[in-house]
């Protein structure tokens, strides 16, 4: 644990510079200049209706996705507190190992007008709508909410709760004043782990939105793969990156304050 060992970090630092910092600088340079010199038009293009609308839709869907995942996960975590076995939590983690794209394809087959679910819920076709996209996102990201929230709730000491009971707290108070604050860490990391992928997703909307749901991720993907406007794509990526890093930063600060 001396000077020598610092050398061990050199490949790691070179790697960070070469594959994280330089690529981000590249995005930045593509975003703010083109063959005509410096310009802000690519970054500001986020204000165009055709980009603003997808961004707002992404934010909206990501927000709903976080809320729904929390609403599902928190009661589940409380119920699972009385289950000691790891087998149960293992059951909730397992779906993460199925290939994501195939699971979403399976949803497509389930939700189609002549799909598997149509036998049970006839004439309610939700495939190729915003709702189907939201459902796919929730499916994809739910395990990322369940795991940290479960871990946080499972770690709450039973004695603390007993204490609260003995001091006369009611159920609601125990939940709001004791359990939630103690599980805060897990909830915050669940929010980050769901919000960021939901905000930037393009695969789910591509598969379950039928080309009618355009999220900001789809717009960026299109700019790079089909529309050949890398400057515009980079400009929008930069904006998206700012949104993502800002949201994680805010949540992170929030978490820290709690302990200071």
């Amino acid at each position: 644990m001396n000077r020598m060992s610092q050398k061990a970090a050199y490949p790691y630092i070179i790697w960070i510079v070469g594959f994280i910092i330089i690529p981000i600088l590249y995005i930045f340079s593509y975003a703010v200049h083109d063959e005509n010199g410096l310009t802000l038009k690519y970054v500001l293009s986020i204000l165009w209706t055709v980009h603003r609308k997808p961004l707002f839709l992404s934010l909206y869907l990501a927000f709903i996705c976080v809320i729904v995942c929390l609403i599902i996960s928190i009661p589940l975590a409380i119920i699972l507190r009385q289950v000691q076995s790891r087998i149960v939590i293992f059951l909730f983690m397992l779906p993460m190992w199925m290939n994501t794209i195939l699971s979403i394809l399976a949803w497509k087959l389930l939700l189609a007008p002549r799909g598997l679910l149509s036998h049970f819920l006839p004439s309610v076709s939700i495939l190729n709508t915003v709702f189907a996209t939201e459902l796919g996102m929730i499916y994809d990201l739910l395990p990322f909410a369940i795991i940290p929230i479960h871990t946080a709730f499972a770690a709450i000491d039973e004695d603390v709760i007993r204490c609260a009971w003995d001091l006369g707290a009611n159920r609601w108070q125990v939940f709001c004043k004791v359990m939630l604050p103690l599980a805060r860490d897990g909830i915050v990391s669940a929010i980050v782990m769901v919000f960021v992928p939901a905000l930037t997703s393009f695969v789910v909307s591509d598969m379950l939105g039928g080309g009618k749901v355009m999220l900001i991720g789809n717009v960026i993907e299109q700019e790079f793969t089909n529309l050949m406007d890398w400057h515009l794509g980079a400009g929008l990526s930069l904006v998206l990156m700012v949104f993502v890093l800002l949201s994680t930063f805010i949540l992170d600060e929030n978490e820290k304050n709690e302990y200071e």
Binding site: M1, N2, S5, Q6, A8, A9, P11, Y12, I13, W15, I16, F19, I20, P23, Y26, I27, Y30, I72, I79, Q82, Q84, S85, R86, I87, F90, F92, L94, P95, W97, M98, N99, T100, I101, L102, S103, L105, A106, W107, L109, L110, L116, L142, P143, E158, I161, R162, W165, V174, V192, V196, P197, V203, G217, I220, E221, F224, A234, L240, M241, L245
Partner: protein, 265 residues
């Protein structure tokens, strides 16, 4: 006493409702997986119509060259990238320990973890198309990059728990630095390194977005191959392949968890 207080929280909701709730979520999570497993045995090539049971898609897994290539590429990239990421990440954890800029370095290396996959993929594509050809190598480099933070996530706790006095004691007792490192430090870090390696491999196998933007001619991992096939109809052998992979993970996790399960009973 313990049991009692727990019951007090939980008797609020009747037992059957809790079971119903847990069951409902499990159904939601497993429904698509059951569909896929079902499809892997379905004789008809067209998703929805059922054409009788068959094993032919499983047999084709072993004869279809394109699928074999994709499996080989996926595993090759997963194992090599996870190994590289584990080595670089572990050395990084040990090396930056004493550095003054440790916090900044960690924050930067965590960027791929926090950032949007699509942005990470695109940024690396911009650099790779400039400096080298897109191919297997570019996917490999990209995977190593986004796996390093996952490795560190697992190694750092093990490293901070480590007892440093033993290392110094070993040196005092005449061990060389290398000996002390391999005989004292490594054994304490192993569990973290291994779980980091496994996590990196899992992330690599399941990644789509980053591979999608950095892959080159003819390089397909399972995820990108399935995505390309979506437009033309997915080769049903993909269902069987993913069923096999899913069941393999199931069995492995079941074996490792079974001991805990027996312990608690």
């Amino acid at each position: 006493m313990r049991k009692m207080s727990m019951n007090r929280v939980n008797t609020f909701i009747p037992e059957w409702m809790k079971k119903f709730y847990v069951g409902l979520i499990l159904i939601f999570l497993y429904m698509p997986i059951i569909v896929l497993i079902g499809l892997s045995f379905n004789n008809s090539k067209y998703y929805v119509s059922f054409g009788g049971w068959t094993l032919k898609w499983y047999k084709r897994l072993f004869t279809d060259e394109i699928i074999r290539d994709a499996i080989a590429t996926t595993l090759f990239i997963a194992i090599v990238s996870a190994a590289c990421a584990t080595i670089i990440g572990t050395c990084g954890v040990i090396g930056i320990e004493r550095m003054r800029s440790k916090k900044v370095i960690l924050a930067v290396s965590n960027i791929p973890l926090l950032n949007a996959d699509i942005v990470t993929g695109v940024s690396m594509m911009l650099v790779f198309t400039r400096f080298l050809r897109l191919g297997t190598l570019s996917v490999l480099l990209a995977h190593i990059t986004f796996e390093i933070p996952y490795v560190m996530l697992n190694v750092i706790p093990a490293f901070s728990r480590m007892d440093r006095d033993i290392y110094n004691a070993a040196l005092d007792l005449g061990a060389s630095r290398a000996q002390a490192f391999f005989k004292v430090i490594m054994p304490q870090l192993w569990p973290g390194i291994l779980s980091g390696f496994l996590m990196a491999m899992t992330m690599s196998i399941d990644d789509f977005s980053i591979t999608y933007f950095t892959r080159g001619a003819g390089v397909n991992t399972l995820s990108t191959m399935i995505y390309t096939q979506l437009k033309r109809g997915v080769n049903p052998s993909m269902y069987s392949l993913c069923t096999i992979m899913f069941l393999a993970v199931f069995v492995l996790l079941a074996i490792t968890n079974l001991r805990d399960f027996q312990k608690t009973n």
